[in-house]
Symmetry: none
Subunit: 206 residues, 4 copies
DNA sequence: AATGAATGAGAATTCATTCAT
DNA sequence: TATGAATGAATTCTCATTCAT
């Protein structure tokens, strides 16, 4: 949009934007590592390679940085939606793909997610952002399973519990690998597959 | 209240212990609510109803409080062990009981667990404490399932993935309810049952 | 009242009070010299000979220091009242004494008054404190003159304007000598006398 | 507005002067309202509608703005001189007119005067500016009264005290109305008249 | 054993000012 | 000439911790 049409001199808008990004990147990393309080403006400025005060020229105050970061955590729904909409031939493929989509969505949002988890208690508005993700993932999957059942591809069953199990598994894995960083090697593709299989059989899907 | 003057060293030990407990309780609550940094010594002392300095007579420094709290997080193994050792008649009952045991073990350790989750990044020694629990729970369940299979009560299957799903589900639920405090009402007993059923069928257990 | 009855050990209450006083004195002096903003907590602490943080143990924040100082500026009414109530034999003596009372009341409140004058614009609550003094002095004098007239000791006249002139003269002198510190030597006793005489004759008082 | 590009150095001088004036006006207003420190360069630039840095192209530093403002406070002598030189028929008219002249001279210089009053302590060079006005007004009036006495229009008297009273009254009124903004309504013309009358009678002028 | 006073290190933030463009 | 970005110094205030009682 505002791609500084002419760029007569390289400085200006582009450079400003870059400084801004550097500050955000530094804050993202530090807050995920040390929490909101632990990521002091001094440390952020040092990591970003700018003067501490420069932060305050770009963001009204420290909290604004957090807000800006949280806004990065855009809606996950479209991705999940597409995963469910695609025709996969069989239900297992659908589940595997859904698992992938959800898991990598979490991984993509890794830092900000961790910030959310840590700051959930102190910044109440973070709650929604945070809880919405698993909640939505469960709801959407449950809904899909119900549809499949109506189409006759699945017998009846407790789809709510099933969806919950499925989503929980990948959130748990995400946490283990990217937050607590458990050292056990996890083979994600295999996990997607196995989990999908167990779930599918668990709800009588074959 | 102020009768300490007269009690010349009598019961001093008990009273001292009580003060200590009050400080720990206050710190436990505040750190779970606001994180390590957010739980200032001032706030802790106020909540504990003692003078701020008194904290430092009982604990070398603030970090020692954290360490002490973390040490509260006793081994979960004995409880799980007992759940698995009991004769339940059928596998489903076993699973339901295992789920209960694990879930309520988490709930019991709620505050300290949350502190661990929040401070995982800052206090590396917390890592082990934190990761050990789910890891152990998965391992033990996997082992048990394998035994059941050897006993002919279960067909072959990916018991690792299965155990992982099972444990993940309850950790996820624990987080939703006790940390992020998602407002959806969760009916735990029903969840234990449904999850156990799905898992059991998923691994061909009937 | 709370004169630390026993004073078993000299520290404690008495010493704390002294620190408090030292901080107030330093703030009083600096704020009168440099205004509220100019009197930084650092400078105050240095002049008071305490650590900067100690200030915040005694006063919630910097503004509280100002408020506390302003509260020093006690009611001027009783003094003026007594001056008017005393029997002086003649009106001139009354006026001279009233002048003295008002003038030295201002001088006594010198620093705080100057702080008020400087900060009137920024701290609206200071307005009242500040304006009340001359206003009250004029009102009370006007009232007295009216009484004297009713008693037949004075002819009729514009007592409001007269009282205003009288009070203004001494406020002006106070400012010249204690604030702007005009170097011209002012002989106050003589000024009181001359001003009283002129006023008295001006309202036909002899 | 943004047509400066085209105007190649034409009228630059005039425009520059205007910017300068806008900065001075903003500073004058803000410093009178909030004092020197309270009038930050940011606020000045915003009120003046210019970029903050532009201020420093016009004035070496913030202090120079103050100095420039103080220089605005032109001599009051010519106005007072003329008031005294005019033939008024009677002394009372002379006094009334002198009062008017002095009072409105103060009002005209209102902002800068207030700045002087507030900053007197911090900026010693302001002292003279500030004290000169009342001092001069008293001196000139005293001198005139003495002349009138020599001309036989007045009996002998303490003209110094008289002039002081007169001048003080109007300075006091000026302060009440334009600085501390006491809410009592003041009817200036009536005040001039009454004060002149009282003074005149007070020095035996009729 | 417990407490009130005191403090050094460091937090976020504001300010006047300089540097490039 | 004017401006947007950047900054060093300083400000108010908080925190964990020590000292003296």
């Amino acid at each position: 949009m505002d791609q500084s049409n002419h760029r007569i001199h390289q400085g200006g808008k582009a450079e400003e934007q870059e400084t801004r990004e550097r500050i955000l990147a530094a804050a993202r990393q530090l807050m995920a590592q040390k929490g909101y309080k632990g990521a002091t403006t001094r440390k952020i400025s040092e990591l970003a390679g700018v003067n501490e005060v420069t932060i305050f020229r770009h963001f009204k105050n420290k909290e604004r940085i957090l807000v800006e970061l949280l806004e990065e955590m855009t809606e996950i729904r479209p991705a999940l939606d597409q995963a469910l909409r695609t025709e996969w031939g069989d239900v297992k493929s659908l589940l595997v793909h859904y698992a992938q989509t959800y898991y990598y969505a979490l991984v993509e949002r890794k830092e900000v997610l961790i910030i959310c988890l840590i700051e959930a208690a102190n910044h109440p508005e973070v709650f929604n952002l945070l809880s919405r993700m698993p909640h939505l993932a469960v709801d959407m999957l449950e809904q899909k399973l119900r549809e499949l059942q109506e189409e006759g591809q699945l017998p009846e069953g407790d789809f709510c519990a099933a969806a919950n199990m499925f989503v929980a598994t990948f959130f748990h894995t995400f946490m283990a690998k990217h937050w607590v960083k458990v050292d056990c090697e996890i083979d994600e593709p295999k996990l997607f597959e196995s989990t999908a299989e167990i779930l599918l059989r668990g709800i009588g899907g074959r």
